[in-house]
């Protein structure tokens, strides 16, 4: 390879690396959803209790299911706030909590909260919901101050994966350094999500299997979610 070609290749790699920080993740572990033709919700009570009967608050726009019917994604219109919400359901909590909902045609991803809900911004429904997939976490760790991270859930391939964490407190806010260790060779973690006390969510793109998070001054529990 000539010097010029090598430089060109290196520059392209470099630009690609920078772009990865901006682009939506191309998750390897994702489940495609298909439109469910029945508009009648089998679980009207699952939209949550807000003091009003659910049918008065929400209008169900669409529902999507996975091919094995384990995932159910309901797109609801909140009549009170006027916004669209996505409610994801699955028998296992690790599949609907903090799961990415990817609107592939828009190249946009939304992260659900601990209830499996995500607030969608102003989207053009028909186009946005043409191709939808979900990407649940591949591993979940819990971290308490002065403690080691504990693996609480992992897909089979990531059972041996570990996190090395370190706190730094030179600035006004403590910083958490997270290093992914013992990953299988063919595994690439595309996103690392930190959930602080089930309130604040920070989504990072790891570089060299490393991420740094600036934390609030006090917190009780941190959960770290890895996505392939």
């Amino acid at each position: 390879m000539t010097d010029r070609n090598f430089k060109k290749k290196t520059d392209t790699e470099f630009v690609n690396l920078c772009s990865e920080l901006a682009r939506p993740a191309n998750f390897r572990r994702r489940v495609k959803l298909f439109h469910h033709l029945s508009q009648v919700s089998p679980f009207p009570h699952l939209v949550g209790f807000s003091g009003l009967p659910s049918y008065e608050i929400y209008a169900e726009r669409r529902s999507l299911v996975s091919s094995d019917h384990s995932f159910l994604l309901r797109i609801l219109h909140d009549q009170l706030s006027g916004r669209l919400e996505a409610h994801l359901l699955h028998p296992s909590e690790h599949r609907y909590r903090y799961t990415f909902i990817v609107l592939e045609s828009l190249k946009h991803e939304f992260l659900t909260d601990f209830r499996g809900w995500a607030f969608l911004s102003q989207i053009e429904e028909d186009r946005a919901l043409a191709a939808v997939s979900v990407s649940p976490p591949a591993a979940v760790f819990e971290l308490k101050p002065d403690d080691e991270p504990v693996l609480i859930f992992a897909e089979e391939e990531l059972k041996e994966c570990r996190l090395k964490t370190e706190f730094f407190s030179v600035g006004p806010q403590p910083t958490l350094k997270v290093r992914l260790v013992n990953l299988p060779e063919d595994s690439e973690i595309k996103r690392v999500v930190l959930v602080i006390d089930d309130q604040e969510t920070l989504i990072a793109v790891p570089q060299k299997d490393l991420t740094f998070y600036e934390l609030p001054e006090s917190f009780r529990t941190l959960r770290i979610y890895l996505y392939e």
Partner: protein, 357 residues
């Protein structure tokens, strides 16, 4: 277009992209371009700063650049970038929209440089200084510097730094466990951030001014250099220290507050060293810091109000007067002396700088 003009254009582009982001009105391509521009701006800084004492081990400069920049682009659930938007909030961007481009360039470089130091600090456990290479560089520098002589004693390489008055004063032999004194001198004289040749030229000048020739082993000089750079890096990291108590710094001016914050970082480092040598217990470190914090607060409010023992006892009630006299007083007094000297020098510097402008 000249190189400077194109650099300014790059920074103008950064400013516009930042504006789109804080207005939440950006496209993916804006974000990509912003990241690329920032990485390009930080790369020369990585090369420059890593030359200080760090050889980057398994990391390439671009890895360090990407790691640094990636921390700015951590999103929250709303798709916003809290760290980036804190550093470049609307007020700041608005100001730079009407300011000279060079002003924004300075601000941006300052932010990126600080973030880079933070990255180095977070990686400090992984990136080790290449001691052999630095040692060779020191030896080479010392051999060339006037006022410096290299001796071999029992297989050890000793450097005699005896500027200007050879033979008049016998050099003080600094043992390895006394290297703290040299580190203190180097830090107080602002020798952090200097590369090896400049660092030792300045050190010889300082020792010459003090008329204090020393004989010191090359290993001690190596450790002094590395420790000074580490301490400098640490003192530069972050926007301020950990808040130790709710008392804060009261009504202090921003300049004094900044100095006190810097001082706390320095004292934390000094105490860490006492801790690693088992001279203080882990829980005592916090007590010393809090006691010093109270004392600095009193200095601002008119002066020391009680005995040093009482300052410390408030946070470490288990320390008896006897134990304090035997083991603790020396440490506390050293910390206070070092803090006072540091404040004196920095305030004089600020004073002379403001006198010049």
């Amino acid at each position: 277009m000249s190189r400077q003009a194109s650099r300014l254009a790059e920074e103008r582009k950064v400013l516009l992209k930042l504006l789109y982001i804080i207005n939440n009105n950006y496209k993916e391509s804006d974000l990509e371009e912003l990241i690329l521009s920032m990485v390009r701006l930080i790369l020369p800084l990585v090369r420059k700063q890593s030359g200080l004492y760090l050889r980057l081990a398994g990391y390439q400069p671009r890895d360090i650049a990407l790691l640094t920049i990636s921390t700015l682009f951590i999103r929250n659930k709303q798709g916003r970038f809290p760290v980036l938007e804190k550093l470049f909030n609307w007020k700041i961007i608005e100001k730079f929209m009407v300011a000279r481009e060079a002003d924004f360039r300075r601000y941006l470089r300052n932010i990126l440089s600080r973030r880079l130091k933070q990255t180095f600090y977070y990686l400090s456990g992984e990136i080790q200084p290449e001691r052999a290479k630095i040692r060779r560089e020191i030896l080479y520098t010392l051999k060339k510097l006037p006022g410096c002589r290299i001796n071999k004693e029992n297989g050890r390489t000793m450097a005699v730094i005896q500027p200007e008055h050879p033979g008049r004063t016998k050099p003080t032999i600094l043992k390895e466990d006394q290297s703290d004194r040299l580190v203190e001198i180097c830090l107080n004289q602002g020798l952090g951030s200097l590369q090896v040749p400049k660092f030792f030229r300045r050190l010889i000048e300082v020792l010459s001014d003090r008329k204090s020739p020393v004989e010191v082993s090359l290993n001690t000089l190596l450790e002094t250099y590395i420790e000074t750079q580490k301490n400098f890096l640490l003192s530069e990291v972050g926007n301020g220290p950990v808040t130790l108590s709710s008392s804060g710094t009261g009504t202090a001016s921003p300049e004094i507050s900044d100095l006190l914050e810097e001082l706390q970082v320095r004292n934390t480092l000094l105490l860490n060293r006492y801790l690693t040598r088992n001279k203080i217990r882990k829980e005592e470190k916090d007590a010393y810091l809090r006691a010093l914090n109270d004392l600095f607060q009193d200095w601002q409010d008119g002066g020391q109000e009680k005995s040093l023992y009482e300052y410390l006892k408030k946070y470490a009630p288990e320390i008896s007067p006897g134990e304090y006299r035997q083991r603790k007083r020396k440490i506390l007094e050293y910390l206070i002396k070092s803090s006072r000297d540091f404040l004196k020098i920095r305030l004089l510097e600020q004073h002379s700088a403001s006198g010049r402008t």
